[in-house]
Amino acid sequence: MGEKFLMKGNEALAEAAIRNGCKHFFGYPITPQTEVAAYMAKRMPKIGGTYLQAESEIAAINMVLGCASTGARAMTSSSSPGISLKGEGISYIIGSDLPCLIINVMRGGPGLGGIQPSQADYWQATKAPGHGDGQVLVFAPSSVQEIVNLIGQAFDLAETYRMPAMILADGMLGQMMEPVEFPEVVPTPHEKPWALTGTKGQRKPNIVNSLYLQPQELERTIIERQKRYDIIREKEVQVELQYMDDAEFAVVAYGATARVVKSAVSKARAKGIKVGLIRPITLWPFPEKEIAAAAKQVKAMLTVEMSMGQMVEDVRLAANGACPVGFFGRTGGIVPSPAEVLAEIEKMAGGAK
């Protein structure tokens, strides 16, 4: 602790994963996350770990499934189109109650889209990472340091709740260089009696499976999982509030966009507009209570995203009509500018002062 490194977001992410005990990485090259794979390819052989370049994103996520089923910490990393391919495997991993880490360094879509930063996979990450009833933990860092800090938590919570965790970053965070410190890692031991290690003739076989042909049985497993989700919604929400104590207006933004918004909020404050920032750090679980409380406090809210408006739906659900919730977004790889966001804040506050 204490030593600072100047690192790209993608490389810091990879290093943090290794320091948190991940020895198995399975991936496939895709811009703008390829540095994660390149870093892993360099480091893993030196620590006796696995870097394996799969034949596809589909194969990579299924290698993660197999690896995770043995109880080992496993991860994969990709960007938007690649995450779509992983959807099948993510659903099976959810259904098999396996922990793992998935990185999405988002780029513009749909289709092949572009390679510039985007937040247009919010719905995919938080609503439907794969088919069926199921969730993944979704963390949205907004700095390289926060990426590093969240990786350990993501692995720990994935193992605590036996489910995938996702770091939802974007091309800007992945590519930017910032000074980072790597905190001392105190590994949390997780018992894994379900892991496939071979019976050694000492126990009954372990079975990792997501098939339940009896509807009653399938419903039971889903309800059991939902109970865990309820605990997560209660205990694991993370959100940063800035200038909210006396705020009359609030802007909700996450990830790299929140950095732009922070700067716009500071400028608005300097102009005398009492505006605050609500920055969800976990997107699932979503900070519903904090936003509901803020909605009762402020006159209006604005959600800013690098999409056509996805998180804004959750903000509106949480606000539940207590205040109007506006939206401003740029998409397709365009990062909103502080001036644009400031103009929107001024509009919300009733015109420029």
Binding site: L52, N62, M63, S69, A74, G198, T199, P205, N209, L211
Partner: protein, 251 residues
């Protein structure tokens, strides 16, 4: 009194769901016997497919995981990379291995992934009720080739062992059948050899087993066994296609 035969410890007591006359039961037994006889049942981790053998995880008496359709070789790869000293096998049908999972099959083979694949080729999709498989024979009638497989329209059946034997990562590839006692004995020897190749860390091994599906072929069990001889074996010749275990590397 001396015991001359008993059920292998490699199988559980669970009653299988397979149709009368289906040869999956024989193949399960052969794999289980080989794991037991090689003394690796306690080290074995099996990967079940999607298809008729989807519930193989209930039948094999070892640690098991159920993979998404076609992805068993990728799942097995993940297991093997984390636990190189366990014996890792997949058990897959023709749709799983040679259609939806072709990429996973070919690439695990060319990586020389040290796993064993038991490939059950019955020339049809069984679980979904008898549709054309990548291994359905020319002219063969299925639910989705009601006028017989027209190779000019639907293409040709895939010969998996021949294809994989060209890859340097493959240590052992053999095609066998389980339609009569001599063939069953050869099938067992092949499975044992494939698993031994893995235990000796030689690389990728596959045993393709020509298997009967009387239900979806619309035949009696006896007719199905004869159909393997008459129709399948001529298109899918039995034999060893690759073996680097004894005589050194050769294609």
């Amino acid at each position: 009194m001396a015991i001359v035969f008993q059920k292998t410890k490699g199988l559980t007591d669970k009653e299988t769901h397979y149709c009368p006359g289906c040869t999956h039961g024989i193949i399960h037994r052969l794999v289980a016997e080989c794991l037991e006889e090689l003394g690796v049942l306690g080290d074995a981790i099996g990967v079940a497919p999607v298809g008729c053998a989807v519930m193989a995880y209930d039948y094999f008496n070892c640690d098991m995981v159920e993979a998404p359709h076609g992805r068993a070789p990728a799942v097995a790869t993940g297991i093997k990379r984390a636990r190189p000293d366990n014996v890792v096998f997949t058990y897959q049908g023709d749709g799983d291995l040679a259609a939806i999972g072709t990429a996973e099959t070919v690439h695990s083979a060319t990586r020389g992934e040290n796993i064993t694949i038991i490939f059950v080729n019955n020339a049809i999709y069984g679980m979904t009720g008898g549709q054309m498989a990548p291994t359905t024979l020319p002219g063969q009638v299925t639910q989705t080739t009601p006028y017989g497989r027209d190779v000019n329209y639907s293409g040709y059946p895939v010969r998996v062992c021949e294809m994989l034997s060209t890859l340097s990562g493959v240590a052992y590839a053999e095609r066998v059948a389980v339609n009569n006692v001599p063939n069953i004995r050869k099938a067992k020897a092949a499975i044992k050899k494939a698993l031994t190749a893995q235990i000796e860390k030689k690389g990728f091994s596959i045993v393709e087993v020509l298997s009967g599906c009387p239900t979806n072929w619309g035949m009696t069990p006896q007719e199905a066994l004869k159909w393997i001889d008459d129709k399948m074996i001529p298109y899918y010749p039995l034999g060893v296609y690759k073996d680097v275990t004894e005589k050194g590397v050769h294609a």
